[in-house]
Amino acid sequence: MNKIVSLLCGIIFGIGLVISEMINPEKVLGFLNIFKEWDPSLAFVMIGGLIVSTPIFHLFKNKNKPLFSSNFSIPTNKQIDKKLIIGSVFFGSGWGLIGLCPGPAITSIALLNMSSAIFVTSMFIGFYLASKVN
């Protein structure tokens, strides 16, 4: 059952990225362009996500177990360290350079866009290199 949930959650997430237009790098770059021509739309994507996920998380986090799995797995790392900051700086600069972050990049593979395929391949190389460093 949890396999079906994984697929279904991916589909819902992907459709959310399409409807919100977060899949379009131009829209993302417009959101980050606050000093000139600013498109504030993507702030509403975050608000929409948080108003659903926040109450659900806090309602369920102390329950014994999720419906289709033996336990909840919640990140426990609380350290504010160099890796967190340097990693976020790298991510922010790549995001601002192209306008794609991991979710929209992978989702855009469906559109058979050559540029996004090159981006996704490079991103996976980045994942691999980071796994060797960590």
């Binding site: 995001w95 979710g103 855009s108």
Partner: protein
Amino acid sequence: MNIVNFTPVSALTGGLLIGLSVALFFTLNGRMIGISGIASNFLVSKNNRIDNFLFLVGLILGPLIYNLISGKEINISISSSLILLIIGGSLVGFGTRLSSGCTSGHGISGISRFSLRSIIATITFMLVGILTVLITGIL
């Protein structure tokens, strides 16, 4: 500063779906969604590999199903050069794993847990993203 291309309703609707996906994955499968984590774990770890794979397949099916239901074409435009795509993709891949999260993992899942770590990460990558767009706009 001018406000342009503002589409709050579609942005909010898409955001609610993303929140629904995060909420279902947590209450049913017990995990918090972070796309960079799911994608890189699929690549380097045997744990939950089938779940991670199916989630990624779902992401790619999303636009196709949307297109089938709505009949609307999805158009994106990426004007970056090959070398910038490679640099940008590598920075995003490496950076999100070094900091253990991206827009979804820190920005949605982490902030909904009120994680200070995720709040700091989100502020950092947003500010650096804004700065990058400012600098590339000048160059």
